[in-house]
């Protein structure tokens, strides 16, 4: 787009040249004379073609102020005001029309140094203009720091016709640099801030520095007048900015291509310092030498930058990496273009007729494009980094979630294993219980039946006891939530029929809170066995009419109480002997105690066992 604008600008400028009314003389007369008034017509004027460069390349002496005499015609009186358009007049000067001074552009003095980058559209007073031949005299002072004096092709005509070209050029040589400086300042502040917060992002820092240097360097086109006492400082700053820009660009290109060479980086930084220090030591007089040697040394660095970028393209083979060298090439072409305009305008004139004379320098716009590209590339990098950061976060999150899942799965597995272990332990205990109880009872009965030692009634009783034993184990194992209340309820529900058949009225009270912890089956089995033993005694021996069973839980202690109104103290001591011993042993296995109270009113069996430790 920039290129299109420039070319568009060029065509516009040419179309302005060809406007009917205006004049665009190709020839003029030149006279090297330092006088502040126009030289006489009979002075030794020399004919020249515009634009003119004097002296030509290779001449020894620098050019002093020069007068140019341009003859032009005005066909007839025009209602519109006329002006002369000078695309450049770097060193300033004066304009005379038909023997009268009509305008002046300040030249360098003892106090001020000037270099005018702007174009000049100087009005020609109507009263001095004549129909037919007119004579324009322009004094041009040499520009600061330039060996030769340059004088443009001038356009003379109505202001409206010329102002268009003037505005266009003004934009490129004045407004664009101003905008560049402003943009550079803002962008560099922003980027350097990022670097300050994130010192690891060296590319941002380099880009920020390059922008700063470029902004300072571009000030040359913005600041046209400098007081003499600050001139050297200004040149120093300019030199440092130019060298800094090139060196920082080189560092950037290296880093961007992934090249890290500490020694080379230090050498580049040192080279950058040499220029300003040299100028500081040598003073103004040394500037041409510094320019020729030190500034010349920047050229190989520039070539190195291009080489590194192309090497990066070859290595990465991605479109994004090709952008930088493409822009660099464009900037280089712009540089070549500028060089040709400066030093061999003739060649340019042959390639692009009429273009060279405009002296529109492209390198700065190329550099702007380069900085813009760098900015875009860095922004892309930045967004890519953000995106990958987000992806990283996501993958991290999912990894954390995975880990959490596996942890909880592990935990569940462990818990299941623990439950399994506990269940296996319980199974062991109950199997031993069945083995020792039901098993031994069946074996004893079998052996007695084989001996013919058991009556029919005894066999029936023994088998009933075995079935009861079996039931007890099933009752203890039945409740899935290990609720002692349900197990004991089932047990008592079954016993109720038997007690009623034996003529015993049964009442039971179960007083356990809902939130009581589960009781393991083995513990339940022990409790049920104690209850069974007690109830069996009631039915067999006590001749009771009523039995009351109470289950309570208080202070972590389980209390089971079985009270009957039977014979109690009247009972033969041996009758309950083994039963009581069994019950005591079971109570001890639960870590509790068994209490037996017998008096005239009956028997009371009380089991107290800790619930918390009953699981063991």
């Amino acid at each position: 787009m920039l290129v299109a604008l420039i070319i568009g600008g060029a065509t516009d400028a040419r179309s302005a040249d060809q406007a009917n009314e205006s004049a665009s003389p190709q020839h003029a007369l030149r006279l090297g004379a330092s006088g502040l008034t126009p030289p006489a017509p009979d002075a030794p004027w020399q004919s020249v073609t515009l634009p003119s460069v004097a002296p030509q390349l290779g001449a020894a002496a620098p050019q002093g102020p020069t007068w140019f005499r341009i003859d032009f015609k005005r066909e007839s009186a025009s209602p519109r005001p006329w002006a002369v358009y000078l695309p450049y007049l770097y060193g300033g000067g004066q304009v005379w029309l038909n023997g009268q001074q009509v305008a002046s552009v300040p030249e360098s003095t003892d106090q001020l140094r000037v270099r005018w980058e702007r174009a000049h559209l100087l009005p020609l007073p109507d009263n001095l203009l004549r129909d037919g031949d007119n004579e324009l005299m322009v004094r041009a002072a040499p520009a600061l720091g330039e060996h030769s004096l340059r004088f443009p092709r001038v356009d003379i005509g109505p202001v409206v016709t010329l102002s268009e070209a003037n505005d266009r050029r003004q934009f490129w040589v004045r407004t664009a640099p101003q905008l560049t400086v402003l943009a550079c300042l803002i962008v560099s502040a922003f980027v350097l801030f990022i670097w300050w917060r994130r010192p690891g992002e060296v590319l941002y820092g380099l880009f920020g520095l390059a922008t700063v240097f470029w902004g300072i360097r571009t000030l040359t086109f913005v600041i046209e007048v400098v007081p003499v006492e600050r001139w050297q400082l200004w040149r120093l700053v300019y030199l440092a900015a130019t060298g800094g820009f090139v060196v920082v660009m080189a560092l950037f290109a290296m880093r961007f291509a992934g090249l890290r060479h500490r020694g080379l980086e230090r050498a580049l930084a040192a080279y950058w310092l040499i220029g300003p220090v040299w100028l500081l030591l040598a003073g103004s007089a040394g500037e041409p030498l510094v320019n020729r040697i030190w500034s010349g040394g920047l050229i190989p660095i520039g070539i190195g930058i291009i080489a590194v970028s192309f090497w990066a393209v070859w290595r990465e083979r991605r479109w994004a990496s090709a952008v930088m060298p493409a822009v660099l090439t464009l900037a280089t072409l712009a540089g070549v273009h500028d060089y040709l305009i400066s030093w061999d305008a003739g060649l340019m004139e042959r390639v692009l007729p009429g273009w060279a004379g405009h002296r529109l320098f492209m390198l700065h716009h190329g550099a702007n494009l380069m900085l813009l590209t760098m900015g875009v590339l860095l922004s892309l990098r930045f967004t890519r980094a953000l995106t990958s950061l987000e992806q990283l976060n996501e993958s991290l999150e999912s990894r954390v979630a995975d880990r959490e899942r596996s942890l909880s799965a592990n935990y569940l597995r462990l818990a299941a294993l623990e439950r399994q272990n506990a269940a296996a332990e319980e199974r062991q205990l109950i199997m031993r219980e069945i083995h020792d109880g039901l098993g031994s009872k069946l074996f004893t009965s079998l052996s007695r039946v084989e001996r013919g030692d058991m009556s029919h009634l005894q066999i029936e009783e023994s088998l009933r006891a075995c079935i009861a034993d079996m039931r007890l184990a099933l009752d203890a194992l039945a409740p899935e939530d290990h609720d002692l209340r349900t197990a004991l309820g089932d047990f008592l529900f079954r016993w109720q029929g038997e007690l009623e058949a034996a003529g015993v009225r049964a009442a039971w009270t179960i007083d356990m809170p809902d939130e009581a912890p589960g009781v393991p089956p083995h513990t339940t089995l022990q409790i049920l066995r104690i209850a069974q033993e007690a109830l069996t005694n009631v039915v067999k021996h006590a001749r009771a009419r009523q039995v009351e069973l109470r289950l309570q839980r208080a202070n972590g202690l389980l209390r089971l109480e079985i009270q009957d109104d039977g014979l109690g103290a009247g009972l033969a001591p041996g009758a309950q002997g083994r039963g009581i011993v069994n019950m005591r042993a079971r109570a001890e296995r639960l870590g509790g105690t068994l209490e037996l109270r017998q008096d005239a009113h009956g028997t009371c069996v009380v089991l107290s066992a800790p619930l918390a430790s009953s699981a063991a």
Binding site: A478, R485, T486, A501, I510
Partner: protein, 215 residues
Amino acid sequence: MKIRVLIVEDEPEFMRRFSNAVLADPELSLTGAVSTGAAAMALLGAQPPDVLLLDLGLPDMDGTEVIRYVALHHSACDVLVVTMFGDDRHVIAALEAGATGYLLKDAGADRIATSIHELHAGGSPISPGIARRILARMRTATTQPRDESPRDAVLTPRETELLRLTAKGLSFDAIGQLLEISPHTVVAHVKKIYRKLAVHSRGEAVYEANQMGLL
């Protein structure tokens, strides 16, 4: 009028035991004693009994099929299931099929006759383990109300409370005192609960069938 009893039991020893218990009671009359489900269904039509004494493990079919058949075709007949031990899982399956009582196999002759009388009089036994299981079944029904499931399958608050107390191991006397009803009313409630359980399970079956597009 005597209570007519049909016995379905494939084990000869127990068949004799049950038959003797029924024959010994002057208030009971034995309409038949068969050993297969098919024979039971045939006899049900010929001589409808008041109480069916049924073993679940039959040689030709699952006992619950006989229960379902009875519930469908002879709803006036009470089914008393005989189980070896207090095997809650099988008891629940039988109750869901439509049985209203259960009896332990080793019960004495008196106990057998008493159970038949109680069941016919309108009462059913319930153990804490059974109560707990019924509560769990019904709870899933109330937390997931379905339009297809019959309204009367939902337990009343009183019935739920009764089950809750039973599951806690309380005796019928204690429950009767707490709910201020007689122990007889408690067992009558239990029978109602059993019927609802059967209706509920059928409702569930109908719902499932609807879901699968069978009906």
